[in-house]
Symmetry: C2
Subunit: 422 residues, 2 copies
C-alpha cells in the first residue's frame, strides 16, 4: 500500500516538473537539451584553455579536438584570390541551383571516375555545406518515422543527433575487439525489416582504422542478402571526410563499386584543412536503383532544412583543389612518434592507418575517470563513452610535433600512476 | 448504398496507391515531393532560358527571380583578398564555435546598437548560413509538435516548407486589401492558445510594402495581450533580408524596441548582393524573458540540422561590410520607371517602398492564367497563388534598366490584350 502511495506521488511530481519545464522553456525541449549539453570534446577543450592560463600552455597537452593543425595547401589561397579578382561578382556570389553549379559537379565526377575507375554522374552529386550537412540531408531524405539506422561502435557522436532529428532510430552494432572492424555476424543479427541505412566511417573517427576491400565486400554481400529478404533497399552510407588521410600503403575502397544502393558523404574539411568553410557533397551511386527519386528527396531535404545552396564562392574553389591535400606527412610523422612511444610505455592501442586519431585502452574500466586522472598530468584525451563504447580514450594527434614530444613524459607518469604497485 | 460502395472502393484504391508509392519510393515521401515539385518561380526562370534561345534574349523580359542584379560593393572583394592574404589560414578556415566568432558578433551588436539605438548583446547573436538557415534554426528551436505559426498573405512560400518541417502548422492571416499591411482584427481572431510564432517580413516579399512604426506597435500590443491571456510567450519573428533596401524617406523599425519576445532573422544576401554565399544571423532580443533558454535551443537546432558553423571566412568578412550596401539607387530608379510606366498604362499596383518587388493586380481573377498570357508577350511574372494569395503577380525589378525600358511595350500589349473590347 505504502509503495503505491509513493508511486502515486512520483507520478504527480513528474507531471508537475514536466509542466514547469514546459512553461519555463516554451521552446523545443529536445533542441534545448542538445544546445545545453556540451559535448565531452568541447568541454575538455574549454577546460584546457582555462588550464593553460593557470599552469602555462607548455604544460597542457590538448589532444581533444579534431581541428586540422596543418594549414591548407597554397593552391587554396591562390585560387581564392584568383576567383575573387577575376570573376564577375554577380555570378560569383549569386544563387546557384540547389544541387550546385553543373561545371563544378562535372569536374568532381570526372575526378572520381578517373581516380577510382568509376562511372559516376554529376547528375547525382549534390554539393553540401560540409559532411554534417551531407549527413543530415541524406538522412532526412531517406528516413521515414522509426526507420532504423545501424552504426558501428565506437562512432562519431553526432550520428545519434542527426538520425534522431530525422525521426530515425539509432541501432549500435559492436565491432570486433581486436581490430575495431565491423562484426559481420553481429550485423547479420541486427539488420531487420526496419533497417533503412547502415553508416560506415572510414578512415574511422575515433579509431583511425581503415576498412579494406574484404570488409566492404562482406558488408555488401550481407546487405544484398538482406535486401532480397526484406524486399526493400538498405542504403550503405559511407561518411568519409578522412578518405585522403591514410598513411599506410593502402586505400579505402570506393563503395559504389561493391554495392548498388550506396551513398557517399564527402567533405573537403580535413584533407584540405578547411573545416570552418563547410564544403562537401553527397554522391548517389550510379547503380542505385532509384537514384532519381533519391536525388529529388535529397533536394527536398536540403530545401526543408534551410540549405539553399552551398556557398557559391567555395563551389568555384572546388575545381582548383581536386586531388590536392594539405601536407599529410606531418600527421603521419605525428602518428608514428606517438604510436611508438605509447606502445613502448606499455599502453595498448590499435595501429591507426588513417584519420588523425589514436584509440587507446584506458588503464581502468571507467574511461571518464581515466580521462579525469589524465587531466592531472596536463593530458586532455576524450573518454570513449562519448563514442558509444566503454574503456578507451581518443587521442587527436592533429597537433604540433612539439606538443606530442613534450607530452610523452606525462603519458609515462599517467601509466606509472596506474601501474606502480601492480 | 451505391455511394457507400464507391466510397469503400475509393478508400481501398487510395491504400493501394499509397502502398505502391511507399514501395517504389523508399525515401521520405514529403522530402521527395518537395524536391520533385519545382517552385513556380524556378519553373518560370527555366522557361525563360529556353524562350531566349527560341525568340532571342532581347525579346524575353525575365522578372521572375529575386537574384540581386547590382554587384556587391568593392569593399567585399577587397576585404576577401585582404583576409585571405593576411590571416593565418589555420585560423581563417578553422572551426569556429557554433554561434560564430565572438569578435564578429560583438561588432554586429555594436553596429545595431549604434544604428538603431538598441541595447542588444552579442551573446544572443547566432551566425547562420543566410536567412533560410536562420528561419529553419529559429523555428526548429522554438516549435513543438502542432504549434501554430501565423504568416500574413501574400508570403514567401518557403515559410510553409520550413514551418512544416519543424512540425508546426502554418496559419495564414490576410492583409488589408488596400495596403497589404497586416489586418490586426483578423490577427486578433487567429491567435489562439496554440500560437507560438508570428512571422513578419518587411520590406516585404512579394509586395515591397514596408511596415511602419504604427503597424509594429499594433501587432506588438495585440500579442502582449494574447501572451497575458494564454500565459505563454508568443514570439514575433522578423524576417528581414531586405532591411536596407528601402527607397522612400522611411525605415523599418527594429522590433526588439517594441516587443519583448522578439527574434530577428537577418541576411546579408540582398543588401550586399551575396545571395549565394549564405551569410546571416539570428538575434534574440535583449528583453526576451527566456533568452538564455532560447539561445541554447537555437544552438541545439543548428547542431541537429547539420549547421556546424557559418563559413569561417565569411564570418571574418562581416566586420568589413557592416553599414555598407550595394548601389541600391539602381533598384530605386528601376522601381520609379516601372511603377510609373505601369500605372500610366492603367495597371493597379501598390507603391512599393522597399525590397525589389512590385505586386500588380492581374487583369483577370486567375493569376496563373494571366501569367501564362503574359508569357506570350515575353513577360515572365510570378502568379501570386505561389505566395498564398489570388489575383496578383509579382514583378522582380532587380534586372537591368534596359530590360525594364524594353519591356514596357510588352506590358502595354498585355494590357490591351485584356482591355480591348472592354
Amino acid at each position: 500500500m505504502n509503495i503505491l502511495i509513493i508511486f502515486f506521488f512520483i507520478i504527480i511530481y513528474d507531471k508537475i516538473i514536466d509542466k514547469r519545464l514546459g512553461e519555463m522553456i516554451m521552446v523545443n525541449k529536445k533542441m534545448y537539451e542538445l544546445g545545453a549539453q556540451k559535448s565531452k570534446i568541447r568541454e575538455l577543450f574549454e577546460y584546457g584553455e582555462k588550464l593553460k592560463q593557470q599552469i602555462g600552455s607548455e604544460n597542457v597537452f590538448d589532444f581533444s579536438i579534431g581541428n586540422p593543425s596543418v594549414p591548407c595547401p597554397n593552391v587554396v589561397s591562390e585560387a581564392l584570390i584568383n576567383i575573387v579578382s577575376n570573376t564577375n561578382p554577380t555570378l560569383l556570389h549569386g544563387y546557384t541551383i540547389a544541387s550546385g553549379l553543373v561545371f563544378v559537379r562535372k569536374q568532381i565526377a570526372d575526378y572520381l571516375n578517373k581516380t577510382y575507375d568509376l562511372n559516376e554522374s554529376y547528375e547525382y552529386i549534390y554539393l553540401t555545406a560540409g559532411a554534417a550537412a551531407a549527413l543530415t540531408i541524406s538522412l532526412n531524405a531517406i528516413l521515414c518515422e522509426d526507420d532504423e539506422v545501424i552504426v558501428f561502435a565506437p562512432f562519431f557522436p553526432e550520428y545519434k543527433v542527426f538520425v534522431e532529428k530525422a525521426q530515425g532510430k539509432l541501432v549500435i552494432c559492436p565491432t570486433k575487439k581486436d581490430t575495431f572492424l565491423p562484426d559481420i555476424n553481429m550485423l547479420d543479427k541486427m539488420v531487420n525489416e526496419k533497417t533503412k541505412v547502415v553508416i560506415i566511417n572510414s578512415p574511422n573517427n575515433p579509431t583511425g582504422v581503415v576498412y579494406h576491400q574484404e570488409t566492404i565486400i562482406n558488408i555488401a554481400n550481407l546487405l544484398k542478402e538482406k535486401e532480397k529478404k526484406y524486399q526493400h533497399p538498405i542504403f550503405l552510407l559511407s561518411d568519409e571526410p578522412y578518405r585522403e588521410l591514410i598513411y599506410s600503403n593502402t586505400s579505402y575502397p570506393f563503395i559504389t563499386k561493391y554495392y548498388d544502393n550506396a551513398i557517399v558523404n564527402y567533405s573537403f574539411s580535413k584533407s584540405l584543412s578547411l573545416p570552418g568553410e563547410r564544403i562537401g557533397y553527397i554522391l548517389i551511386g550510379a547503380n542505385c536503383k532509384e537514384k532519381d527519386i533519391i536525388f529529388k528527396a535529397v533536394n527536398g531535404a536540403g530545401r526543408a532544412l534551410g540549405f539553399v545552396c552551398e556557398s557559391s564562392m567555395f563551389q568555384y574553389l572546388i575545381p582548383y583543389c581536386l586531388g590536392h591535400t594539405s601536407n599529410i606527412n606531418i600527421y603521419k610523422e605525428n602518428r608514428d612518434i606517438l604510436y611508438n612511444a605509447l606502445k613502448d610505455i606499455g599502453y595498448q592501442l590499435i595501429y591507426p592507418e588513417g584519420a588523425f586519431y589514436l584509440f587507446m585502452k584506458a588503464l581502468e574500466d571507467d574511461d571518464e575517470h581515466f580521462s579525469n586522472v589524465a587531466k592531472k598530468y596536463g593530458l586532455l584525451i576524450v573518454p570513449s563513452t562519448s563514442f558509444g563504447m566503454k574503456g578507451y580514450v581518443r587521442i587527436s594527434y592533429c597537433v604540433s610535433k612539439d606538443t606530442i614530444i613534450n607530452s610523452l613524459k606525462s603519458f609515462k607518469k599517467l601509466y606509472e600512476h596506474y601501474k606502480v604497485g601492480d
